[in-house]
Symmetry: C2
Subunit: 584 residues, 2 copies
């Protein structure tokens, strides 16, 4: 028997008991003739004490323990002289009578504490040691608990969790697939799913009504900081529903998670903001509405006054940075540098200080007098003491840049508290996006998304104007989930494939099974998928998903711990009827 | 709004209510001026009635409904004249006042009833239609509920569900891997996991203590009837435990599942049978102990009496088929044919009838007199009316054949009731298996399995004799799960790799990350993995796992519904630096 209790369990009421604990040596220290050992496991820390005068042999053994040794110790729970109020076990310690070393440890390459001294690469290589740290354990526990609560909620609402296959079929639409050569079907390949989209729709055709799955998905994309080649979705679908049935159901799930895991109760319905409004007021389809600071379109107000930058711009808009009129030259320069960064891309920044004394000072005083600036301030609902920040240029780029500036100002003004959560649904997305390079439309969501019924006629006249019956759940500027009402009608699905430039043969070859299924009584249906990694990292207060994943990959898609991917044996290639080409 | 109720919900107390239902047309029939429609959804069947005299237009519309049309109907709940006691909704019907066709359906290629008239291939191609049948829906509901209960139990016992990666590293040991070419790391491959074995061990090294995961695993094997290239495991691992801690924990889980899902309470500890005993008495490491009929080793008793078949045999053993002395010549011939089948492989069958009158009649009367046969009968605890069935030959083959014969007799005697469950743990497996072809040992379980401590010395003298600290959960002759205490000591792990014929370089290249992890304080640990598909199919009373999987593959690893695997585009191959070789 390795333990009677865990290292997080013993309290004052256990004093006098004989106990056995197992765990890792966090640290040892000497004090007079006493040796103290902090013993750690998943559940907490307990202090062990060895008394040289009473048990010299055992104490010598304890003195030799290194960091991260695995030991088993038996002893008596005694009251601690110097109580540690920060530790749940801080009232007691174990006076050891037996000690055995279960496994020794080399000195770990970094410290295993709340904050580690190891660099990113080192901690990834020794992930199993980094995972011993409590911050990572808390993340994985949170992830476990969120999974449990997602399942509780959906089970209560009569959803079935149904596993869909991982070895499926490659389709050129969407992101790049990972493929898997088939040995039994030479020269043919499976693909790993980017999502179970078509399978969950087939389950609706099959009558399952309410499906979900917490499931791995795969995308062979060039990885940015916060993307992983494999990631986890909470994938859901319902039949015989309209959009608001879905929003209500999953708003309920989101509230359930907040209540259970963050002890936060939302007593209101999440705002449902049309995409056009999100773009107009926040310049983003995932607005952070923890703070206001909406965009003000100034285009018509400020043009025609001789300021060529404005006069040539497609779009001019500003935000009101409340209480920032006293910003120094240096601070304003820093903001200008910020918006001119390549990834933000503005040409420059116009500011207007509405001073406390009611006067104005701006970077465009040459072109606009106080009366004019006052009109701007009124339009933007500014008060004395506020700072107006204005960008001008092509509409899409300027919206993007102003969105970034707004977020930056929110950050500077402390309006983006990680413990405040502001969810909303963004709805009525465009159905299609025009791609200039390939001169064709792409589905903004995916090709199975239903247009809004009133827009179907636009397929023949102006497809770019069609709104989709699609929606995203956005929290604090992060897209947590998204979905749509699907097309359940074969003719409409074919119309959609046509506008995407698929020939009948192509759509048949790729999605024939789905089009076929639609012949046999497909019910109206729709669904949503949540990015589970991102949902957990939002709850964990992290900016990256990496530390809510036990074994993440780096930006080259490598697992540096197991050193994968790697070369495989020649016989394996031969069995798969493959030969390698050297990259140039 | 598509429905106020489901098709399984309405009862007598709803009479008089106005309701809306949606679902599939199961069938329509005419009776006088009335049209009756059975409407089906996941929750049940409800009868709709259309009255030609009251609503001719609507009734005409109803008459045109085909099988599997999706409709929405509004009407009043009325009492049914001819109540259908078999149906939960059988007391009522809906007098329809509105009807809309949500989607039409072509005539499905087979009937969607409890029993379908479609052949296997057709039902696989139209799996989404086959999945509409209630037997399949019940299987998938059972699977969902088992998943929920597994998680409930393990969560209550402080396990964390932790996701391990799917894109891992290929190792030549064990079954064949599916591999995934990496685009970003040219000429290198990931492998899909055959199990999360090494990752769950790393989680123990990382201090997680109690891990589980319901997870897909992949094996590129030649498929037998009841194997799938992707299958699901309940994968579990614990640290600071001995074997019996694990058996107790997962016996608890198994009992929890039986109680919750089958309403069966086991009030005893599952038998723990050593492998040697299982082989001796049942000729199998997965004995079906729903019935007794143990093997009786007759070798020393029957040899040396001049019957050359016995005298030349390594092993002679028999079973007592209680009450079968009256078997006819034809029945005995059929049994002889059964044991001589190539997959069973016996040379012949010796029978001894212990007649009701106390006399004996055997197929070896020439060599053995009644006194001798009586000794056999006593040894085998036979009574008048019993039939002794005896096989002889090489030990291993004869055990196998007699095991099959025992199961066949159990079947014939009705001793293998699908609603009776007899679980046991088989323990103390051999650690290693000698492979004659490759002239080396293979790990019987896997290379991380710990030998029993008392057997470690045998590594130097007689490795084949070492027993493993391994165990299987067997229910009704089916291996439902298996696991072991793992090696947690680097030196012992190296010794194991050595006996398996790995060079130091090979073991470093393949499992270096695990051996490295063992340097930093690996705790004692062990675990178990359950075949989830098989567990569900056992509970569902099915012989195959196929119908507890929503979208299974056929015996060539093909998904005939989506037609996968399939060819991929040349550009995809080029991006992956691969070229295809034509199979010869």
């Amino acid at each position: 028997m390795y333990r009677t209790h865990t290292c997080g369990e013993l309290r004052a009421e256990n004093i006098g008991q004989q106990v056995t604990l197992s765990g890792w040596v966090q640290k040892t220290r000497e004090l007079g003739g006493m040796t103290f050992v902090d013993l750690r496991d998943r559940y907490g820390l307990t202090q062990l004490v060895f008394d040289l005068s009473k048990n010299p042999e055992l104490t010598e053994l304890a003195r030799d323990l290194g960091r991260e040794y695995v030991i088993k110790v038996t002893g008596t729970v005694i009251e601690r002289e110097n109580k540690n109020k920060k530790l749940p076990t801080g009232e007691i310690e174990i006076l050891a009578s037996q000690l055995s070393v279960l496994n020794a440890s080399e000195t770990p390459p970094f410290t295993i504490e709340e904050e580690s001294d190891g660099g990113d690469e080192l901690r990834m290589k020794y992930r199993y040691l980094d995972l011993r740290r409590y911050p990572l354990q808390r993340n994985l526990e949170l992830r476990h608990l969120m999974g449990i609560e997602v399942r509780n909620y959906l089970h209560q609402h009569k959803f079935f969790e149904i596993e869909t296959p991982y070895l499926i079929k490659s389709t050129p639409e969407g992101a790049r697939d990972f493929v898997v050569p088939s040995r039994m079907n030479p020269n043919q390949f499976y693909a790993l799913p980017q999502s179970p989209q078509t399978f969950k729709q087939l389950l609706m055709v099959a009558g399952y009504d309410r499906y979900f799955q917490i499931v791995k998905c795969f995308r062979d994309e060039d990885l940015r900081a916060d993307r992983q080649p494999e990631f986890t979705q909470i994938d859901c679908e319902m039949a015989f529903v309209e959009r608001d049935d879905i929003l209500d159901m999953f708003e309920g799930m989101t509230k359930h998670l907040f209540r259970k895991l963050k002890n936060i109760a939302f007593d209101y319905t999440f705002p449902r903001m049309p995409y056009d409004e999100a773009m107009e007021f926040y310049g983003s389809d995932k607005p952070d509405i923890r703070f206001d600071m909406k965009f003000n379109d100034l285009t018509s107000l400020v043009q025609g006054k001789g300021f060529v930058v404005f006069d040539q711009a497609e779009y001019i808009a500003g935000i009101n940075a409340t209480g920032c009129a006293a910003y120094s030259r240096k601070e304003l320069d820093a903001l200008t540098d910020f918006v001119k960064r390549p990834q933000i891309g503005a040409q420059g920044l116009v500011y207007v200080k509405y001073n406390e004394d009611g006067s104005f000072k701006s970077s465009v005083d040459k072109f606009f007098d106080e009366t004019q600036l006052k009109t701007w301030a009124e339009t933007m609902q500014a008060k004395p003491g506020d700072l107006l920040l204005i960008l001008a240029g092509a509409k899409k780029q300027t919206q993007h840049a102003l969105c970034e500036l707004r977020l930056e100002m929110g950050e500077r003004l402390g309006l983006r508290d990680k413990n405040t959560f502001a969810p909303l649904w963004v709805v009525d997305f465009p159905l299609l996006e025009w791609n200039d390079e390939n001169q064709r439309f792409y589905a903004m969501h995916h090709p199975f998304t239903s247009p809004k019924p009133e827009d179907i006629a636009l397929f023949d006249t102006d497809p770019g104007k069609i709104k989709a019956n699609a929606y995203d759940l956005v929290i604090n500027g992060v897209e947590i989930g998204g979905g749509s009402i699907r097309i359940h009608n074969r003719e409409l699905q074919e119309q959609m494939f046509k506008v995407l430039g698929f020939t009948k043969e192509e759509s048949e070859a790729q999605f024939g099974f789905l089009l076929n299924a639609f012949k046999f009584g497909a019910p109206p249906h729709g669904g949503v998928a949540f990015g589970f990694d991102r949902f957990v990292s939002l709850f964990a207060g992290l900016d990256s998903i990496r530390d809510v994943i036990a074994f993440p990959k780096n930006n080259s898609g490598r697992d540096v711990m197991i050193d994968s991917p790697s070369a495989i044996a020649l016989e394996q290639l031969q069995e798969l009827f493959l030969t390698l080409k050297k990259p140039e």
